[in-house]
């Protein structure tokens, strides 16, 4: 379970990026975080992997206080949370296979496990035939699939995706969301930050709506309301 306990984040003194956010996300949930640009969605996700530190409040991952960890302990948390970004963040000089393998190497996995799990992850996202292609040889949707394979290859409890369809056309976007749903059905918690209304309304899952850093709505089977 993920707990945001009274979280506030201030980057510049004049303005709250997040204000008194309280959230609980249960295992195997599929949660969409929606809101206008600047509402604080990315900040919320960055705090969970401690890419940013909150100004106030605590965040727990299954009882582990993420917000109190030092730099040396962060990798452990980050290996339990797979991350997908709008701009993919693939290493440009590594192939699809190597990009996915890299996350396993970083986690200290054995070569034999890497040889077994990377093709499995690439198979799951439907990209086994592009394993030896470099990022610049892949389409946007394919790059995002590689990123998703990288996020799930260490079998994390949670995958968080920040606008994963933000740079993709509608049809490709639907494919990516379907992929996330499939991963969710296999037992992984998904946190999806997006402002894609069609996608959210189609899902019929929990929707957290943010406005100016505050949670203004939190509904099971929610809709994207502006």
């Amino acid at each position: 379970m993920i707990v945001f306990d009274n979280i506030s984040k201030i980057y510049t003194p004049t303005q709250f990026a997040l204000k008194n956010v309280n959230l609980r996300i249960l295992p195997k949930e599929f949660v969409s975080v929606v809101g206008a640009s600047g509402a604080g969605k990315s900040t919320l996700l960055k705090l969970l992997i401690a890419e940013e530190k909150p100004t106030e409040g605590k965040i727990f991952l299954d009882g582990l206080e993420v917000t109190s960890l030092g730099y040396g302990e962060l990798p452990k948390v980050r290996r339990r949370i797979g991350t997908v970004f709008q701009d993919y963040k693939l290493l440009p000089n590594k192939t699809a296979f190597e990009n996915v393998a890299f996350a396993m190497e970083a986690a200290g996995a054995k070569d034999s496990d890497i040889r077994e799990d990377v093709p499995e992850a690439l198979g799951l996202v439907g990209l086994l035939d592009k394993a030896d292609n470099f990022p610049h040889e892949l389409s946007g949707g394919e790059k995002q699939r590689v990123a998703i394979a990288r996020a799930l290859v260490n079998r994390p409890e949670v995958i968080m995706a920040d606008e994963p369809t933000g740079s993709l056309d509608p049809i490709t976007s639907i494919d990516i969301i379907k992929l996330l749903l499939k991963i969710n059905e296999l037992g992984t918690t998904i946190i999806l930050a997006t402002h894609n209304k069609e996608v959210v309304d189609e899902l019929g899952r929990r929707v957290i709506t943010m406005e100016k850093g505050e949670v203004v709505r939190d509904e099971e089977k929610g809709k994207y309301v502006i």
Binding site: E51, K89, L91, E105, A107, N154
Partner: protein, 285 residues
Amino acid sequence: MRNGWLSTATILVMTLTLFVIGGLILMGVAAQVVLGDLEGKIDIAVYFYPNSSESDIMNIKNSLEALSDVKEVSYISQDAVLAEFKDRHKNDATIINALGELDQNPLEATLNIKAKDPTKLQDVADYLQNKKYPIVDKINYYENQVVIDRLSGILAGVRNSGLAVIFVLAAIAMLVAFNTIRIAIWSAREEINIMRLVGASSWFIRGPFLFEGVMHGIASGGLAAILFYPVLWVVSPKLLVVIPSIDMHVYYQQHLLQFGGILIGVGVVLGVFSSFIAVHRYLRV
């Protein structure tokens, strides 16, 4: 290599840095030789009355050699002084004839004293003076004192300021190399950030950069060591005119292993240290 161009640039800058450092070391060696030559020329001569007993002089010589400031004492007997004198004036018939008329050797036996440090000659001279040996005619230190003091002052000054200049130049060269490495790693910041976000530990990320630092250090240290060959081959004949007592080209060949070792060692330390510092700031994520 991750980035061919940056690697090449880094190695070139580091090679130049190490070449500068190596050049400074060689200049230090040359300066040491020159200073040593000069220092070797500064000594105290003690003159003994004619017909002083040789064993008394030897006693004084022994007691001088026991002093911690004294490097060496050489004895020149009356006969040797005379022989040298005759040799020096062998074309001057008047002097030779005059000497022949004497039934005694009028010249004085001499002890030449060299100190380990020319500034300590004063102490040695004072020591002799205080002993008031009856057979000692005169000590020439007091005659040459002004010249000796000035010379040893200059030597000490040259040595200290030379050292300071060497350190400053070496520091500048290292800063340039350090910044080049920082730029190279700056270009990898996005990559480091991604590694961090997928949960790579600091050491996992650092490893390749430190390894690269080691490789850059070895490559540039080796290159700099090789570069000295042609440079010294050209320069050393000219140097030989100024400093005849050391042939830099030969000296370098004899000490190639030490130089290669020092240059590669400094290069590796510089490469690893710079990489470590430069990566560090991107790990704070």
